[in-house]
């Protein structure tokens, strides 16, 4: 049994049929990349797993437990963290408060800060700064830190390199590699090289359906197998 099982999921926005029977698995301690052009349903897959956009049909199981029908906060409490595409910081809250909001009640707050600041020392320097005033790279680090301190077993990471300078992308990639030693990751990433470097396996989505899957070791970013689905 996989940590996360998505089976024949159909998700709609209004009457638009976005996911047309997506199935995928993520195992414990595994990094799985979800690849595809813009608008094929990658972010919707993450929103469906989190029940932010619940499916009309299909199953989402985490550790064998059905998530469809649960509230998003209940899915999160079971150990599914989300690092969204546009980071979605609480801009008027400080760095410290953003981290604090992500720590489940009853968890060790001191240990959570230690984890966050050990992983991203710059965040400790900016501890009392409003998150909205951080640079894009620092906001991405804070978004990852929030995922880290949430006692999560799995992180859904959506476009972590989007809009970042190349050097910052390398730093973020390094941080995600460290994170992936501790939790399973489902990664959506347009930067193919970064995605294949981090991931063990991949799925390719097209028009709301999984059209290919395999081990990342068996493909390279320029291979015809990937580019036919990913090039515009």
């Amino acid at each position: 049994m996989s940590l996360l099982e998505v089976r024949d999921v159909h998700t709609y926005y209004g009457e638009s049929h976005i996911l047309e029977g997506v199935s995928l698995d993520v195992d414990t301690d595994e990094v799985v990349a979800l690849l595809g052009r813009n608008g094929v349903g990658k972010t919707t897959t993450m929103r469906t797993i989190l029940q932010l956009t619940p499916p009309r049909k299909g199953r989402v199981r985490f550790r064998g437990e059905e998530m469809v029908g649960k509230r998003t906060s209940d899915v999160a409490k079971r150990g599914v963290g989300w690092i969204p595409e546009d980071r979605r910081m609480f801009g008027n809250l400080t760095v410290e408060e953003n981290i604090r909001a992500a720590v489940p009640s009853g968890s060790d707050m001191g240990a959570a800060f230690e984890t966050a600041f050990e992983t991203f020392p710059i965040l400790e320097e900016r501890r009392q700064q409003d998150a909205g005033t951080l640079s894009g790279g620092q906001q991405q680090m804070l978004a990852i830190a929030r995922g880290l301190v949430g006692d999560n077993e799995m992180l859904l990471v959506d476009e972590p390199s989007e809009g970042l300078a190349p050097q910052i992308v390398a730093d973020v990639g390094e941080a995600l590699a460290r994170v992936s030693n501790e939790v399973a990751v489902l990664l959506v990433e347009q930067n193919l090289r970064l995605a294949l470097n981090l991931a063990d396996r991949f799925y390719v989505l097209d028009h709301g359906q999984v059209v290919d899957e395999g081990d990342t070791a068996a493909v390279d970013p320029g291979s015809e197998r990937l580019t036919r689905h990913l090039s515009a």
């Binding site: 989190l50 932010l52 509230r71 998003t72 906060s73 999160a76 409490k77 989300w82 969204p84 979605r88 609480f90 801009g91 008027n92 809250l93 408060e97 953003n98 604090r100 909001a101 992500a102 489940p104 009640s105 929030r146 949430g150």
Partner: protein, 331 residues
């Protein structure tokens, strides 16, 4: 303007300032619930006025039960504290029930649906209050609409008198409004900035979906905030018992809702700090209007008119309100 002010002595001006501070304290208590509910939930709660009315009558019953007419000394204040606690808890429970049973079904729907629902809740509660008051008094159908002065005779004796502070004659209830207003401001501020729930409220105000994805049960937070907002409305309603500008009738909440909305809009929708600043400005505008209308112009509605001028000028000059980020009507 300077010439106008100079014709009053410094004593009259200082007394006006302190009266204005008292009015500001009352406005803060009246408007805090509205702004907290709008800030987190985006709900313009028209039932707030009905909660104020119920707070007035529940407060009156609490005074009859716990206090005595013109109670002197500390003996007058302790029962009053008990009445405030009773009203706050009672209205908090009622507000939580309304949110849990009705309002939460309309989250995610257009704002007009929530406005219509809370307006409907206000109408039902208002009618229930009217039926209850008429039954309780055994009176005619217009008993609930007839001013009821008796509750104002209960509570601390000092509420009906002027207190001399540093040579200034200040109405006792004004000093209490300043004190309770300050306690509410400090209490809400500390709650928002020093507690886990406060953190959740501020996070949810910015992005409720992200807060939910972090494991925060935002619906429970909504219920708590609606409850606290309603509790504060109830305490404000109790205070109105001693306000000379309000009569105790079932319409008292609807009457008080207007300045509360003005304060919330002038301060900026959903910002608590903005509400505090706007309450101070509105309080001084109101009392300055009272000073002018009793000494210069024979125009009793001047204080209320000044509040509307403040609202209109704010909407023209700064449509987001003093500290708001979103324009009124900008949804």
């Amino acid at each position: 303007m300077t010439g106008l002010l100079l014709q009053f002595g410094p004593t009259a001006l200082l007394e006006t300032l302190i009266q204005g501070l008292g009015q500001a304290g009352l406005y803060v208590i009246l408007a805090s619930g509205l702004t907290l509910i709008f800030g987190l939930m985006g709900v313009l709660n028209f039932a707030h006025g009905a909660f104020i009315t119920i707070g007035t009558y529940l407060g009156a019953m609490g005074l009859f039960l716990l206090s005595s007419p013109n109670a002197a000394g500390v003996g007058g204040f302790l029962p009053l504290l008990g009445v405030f606690v009773l009203v706050f808890v009672g209205l908090m429970a009622l507000g939580s029930l309304v949110e849990f049973g009705l309002v939460r079904r309309l989250y995610g729907r257009p704002p007009i649906d929530q406005i219509l629902l809370t307006f409907g809740v206000a109408t039902v509660l208002q009618q229930l209050a009217e039926i209850f008051v008429n039954l309780f008094t055994g009176g005619t159908s217009n008993q609930a609409q007839t001013p009821w002065p008796e509750p104002a005779t209960y509570g601390p004796a000092v509420f009906g008198e002027n207190v001399t502070v540093a040579g200034l004659a200040i109405d006792g209830v004004v000093l209490m409004e300043i004190l309770v207003g300050a306690v509410v401001v400090a209490g809400v501020y500390l709650f928002l900035t020093r507690t886990r729930y406060g953190l959740y409220i501020r996070a949810g105000s910015e992005d409720d979906e992200m807060a939910e994805a972090l494991g925060i049960d935002i619906r429970r937070v909504f219920t708590v905030v609606f409850g606290i907002g309603s509790g504060l409305a109830g305490v404000a309603g109790t205070f109105l018992i001693w306000q000379s500008t309000y009569d105790v009738t079932v319409a008292i909440g609807a009457q008080a809702l207007l300045p509360a909305f003005i304060v919330v809009v002038v301060g900026g929708l959903g910002t608590f700090t903005g509400t505090v600043v706007a309450a101070a400005v509105a309080g001084f505008f109101f009392e300055f209007g009272v000073l002018l209308s009793t000494n210069v112009f024979d125009f009793v509605s001047l204080p209320q008119m000044l509040l509307f001028i403040l609202l209109v000028v704010t909407l023209i000059v700064r449509p987001t309100g003093i500290l708001g980020e979103e324009e009124v009507g900008g949804h």
